[in-house]
Amino acid sequence: MNMRITAIEASAMTLGGDDIDTDQIMPSRFLKWITFEGLERHVFEDARRQVSARGGMHPFDDPRFAGAGVLLVNANFGCGSSREHAPQALRRSGVRAIVGESFGEIFAGNCVAVGIPCLCVAGADAKQLQAHCEADPSSRVRVDLTAMSIEIEGAVFPAEMHAGPRRQLLDGSWDSLSVLLAVADKTKERVDLLEGRVHTTRVHRR
């Protein structure tokens, strides 16, 4: 059983832009290990280098956002590749919740597996949250899974997430495996049924 996640209160980091894909979050050359350990060192590595080469500063390098626990993003964050390396690296970098307009679906599911709630807010609200955070990066953001709201500096924004993952985080059952194992007998009956209906043969063709 994992810990219950009911609310996260932390400073936030804005990460602007739509369609930030998981190749950006974790470039493929860091996918060649057989553990997730140490991935946090490479989170957004190429994007950070490119922004810095242009004389800018990527949010993950910005000292104003050091220690941020909440990511404020826009639409379709985490689209693309199913690599769980992306949320694993974010979690290991200290991210505990992500708030945005929408999320890549595989990514959002992977986030539940590592205990990061992804909450959806209206597009305009996502921008307002980012503006608040930019104006004062030290502000605390409260991500509340019970009230389904995001609060910053007294401003409260309604949020949404799928009921299932929300329940898993709230009651601490986001370790899905123990839930699934509970009905192993029922699963076996079903597999037997399916295999009885459609037989396969293993004769090599040609």
Binding site: S28, A47, R83, S176
Partner: protein
């Protein structure tokens, strides 16, 4: 009220509703690769668990394998360890491993259909987003993360929520020189890279009905680039003819009975959909991307959006995207110089893709431009063997292509096949994300295999219909 295929298959795979709206569902097939599975096996061992249904589980190594010489000769030691781990995990758990050492390998999304592993009405999962490819068979197929890979290994089940279903009809007549890849890129352009969030896409209409299985696979493969978790086509005689006689297809004496069961999973005529979209085939021309998201595309003879158009279309980070791509607003995309041409990937590396290109190259005096490195990477050993058997390899080699061994190769830049620096690649793959092809500054222009071949020859993005003289006898020469 009738049901969609999605509803029928999902409902039939539900073991129980864990909480309102969240279901424990059974997977008929679980496919594994070397990149997303090692941590899942390690997590099983940590908890003292074993693989529950190895006979429903199949794997190979595809992302990191080499396309030159020994497939397991990796340029990085960590990749070699991943491949060795994949073989070891499969052997220990009695999982059928399509072994590169036995020449059985290829991109998992190419070899699973070849082996007849995916049947209509199945629920198929794999730790790779392009698992959506198998929707071509009328299966529900989607990518999962490593924790879910662990869950399915241990229980053959996972938690899932029901998706909405959007029916997309492609109707009319496709022009000659327009391929399934163009249909897919056009669909993504029209509906957006995030348009499919929360949806399964059901593809239909006369164009899709006339598509071969390989064309359907290309389309369903790219459903995920439109934001949909999965895409599918209702099974029909084309599906059944493809499956018959394949290694893991139902045996001959069972096949008629299987067809009856498969017919029953088709969406009912009176099924209701959460959304419907109709796209006219006549509007589709050869498509190319100009940006870093698969929906940032235009017809090859159109212009890149101007600044004003970008504002109107609300294209975020427009200038930054063009700077990255080395392109200019309002300019034609034709004439964009390329450095690398790649025909491969789970999107477009099946036999029909190479046949379509070879048909254009055959007998011509076409040759890859001097400054272009052109790779053709078959999707599997079976495809590679078929290419050789038909003598197509020589056509490609004579035209200046490097004829490589199979693997994911330059689609994801995880083996030695990578872009260097700011190289621009005309690519038949699926993602034009920044850095996707192995160089952080590398640029990807997505297009059909025939368009890639044309770009390779011209040394720049060009209209394949003009270069190869592809014309529609009923309407005269292409513009």
């Amino acid at each position: 009220m009738g049901k969609t295929l999605y509803e029928k298959v999902f409902d039939s795979r539900v073991i129980r509703e864990v909480t309102p709206g969240q279901f424990q569902v059974l997977a008929d097939r679980h496919l594994l690769n070397e990149v997303s599975s090692p941590q899942a096996f390690a997590a099983l061992r940590e908890r003292g668990l074993t693989v529950a249904y190895p006979r429903l589980t199949f794997g190979t190594s595809d992302h990191s394998i080499s396309t030159q010489g020994d497939p397991e000769e990796c340029d990085e030691k960590t990749a070699a360890i991943q491949i060795a781990t994949m073989r070891e995990n499969s052997a220990q758990s009695n999982i059928r491993y399509f072994d590169p050492r036995q020449g059985e390998h290829g991109i998992i999304h190419v070899i699973a259909p070849e082996r007849g592993l995916v049947h209509p009405g199945m629920l198929v999962v794999c730790g790779d987003s392009h698992t959506s490819t198998y929707g071509a068979f009328g299966a529900l197929a989607f990518g999962i993360g490593t924790t879910q890979v662990r869950d399915v290994l241990a229980t053959q089940t996972m938690l899932a929520e029901r998706l909405r279903v959007r029916r997309i009809d492609i109707v009319g007549r496709l022009a000659v020189g327009v391929y399934a890849k163009d249909v897919a890129l056009y669909m993504i352009h029209r509906l957006g890279a995030k348009g499919g969030i929360g949806y399964a896409y059901e593809f239909g209409g006369n164009v899709i009905e006339q598509f071969s299985m390989e064309e359907r696979m290309t389309l369903c493969n790219l459903a995920v680039e439109g934001g949909a978790r999965c895409g599918y086509v209702n099974p029909d005689s084309t599906t059944y003819a493809y499956l018959q006689g394949r290694e893991f297809a139902p045996s001959a004496d069972q096949f008629t009975r299987s067809i009856q069961a498969w017919q029953a999973v088709r969406s009912d005529a009176d099924a209701s959909y959460d959304d419907r979209v109709v796209l006219r085939a006549e509007e589709i021309r050869p498509m190319v991307t100009w940006g870093v998201s698969p929906d940032q595309s235009i017809a090859v003879d159109d212009k890149i959006p101007s600044v004003a158009e970008a504002v109107r279309q609300n294209l975020g980070a427009f200038q930054e995207t063009l700077d990255f791509m080395g392109m200019r607003p309002g300019q034609p995309v034709i004439g964009t110089r390329i450095d690398v041409a790649f025909i491969g990937s789970c999107t477009n590396a099946r036999l029909s893709d190479f046949e379509a290109v070879a048909a254009q190259l055959r007998g011509g005096s076409f040759h890859v431009a001097e400054h272009v490195k052109a790779l053709m990477v078959p999707g599997s050993r079976e495809v590679r063997d078929a290419v050789i058997q038909r003598g197509l390899d020589q056509i490609f080699i004579d035209a200046g292509f490097e004829f490589r061994d199979t693997g994911c190769s330059l689609c994801c830049g995880m083996n030695a096949d990578r872009l260097q620096g700011k190289q621009t690649c005309a690519s038949s793959s699926n993602r034009n994300f920044k850095g996707r092809q192995g160089s952080p500054e590398g640029r990807t222009i997505l297009m059909s295999p025939v368009m890639v071949a044309a770009a390779a020859i011209a040394g720049e993005v060009t209209d394949a219909r003009r270069l190869f003289g592809i014309h529609d006898p009923s309407i005269g020469l292409a513009r």
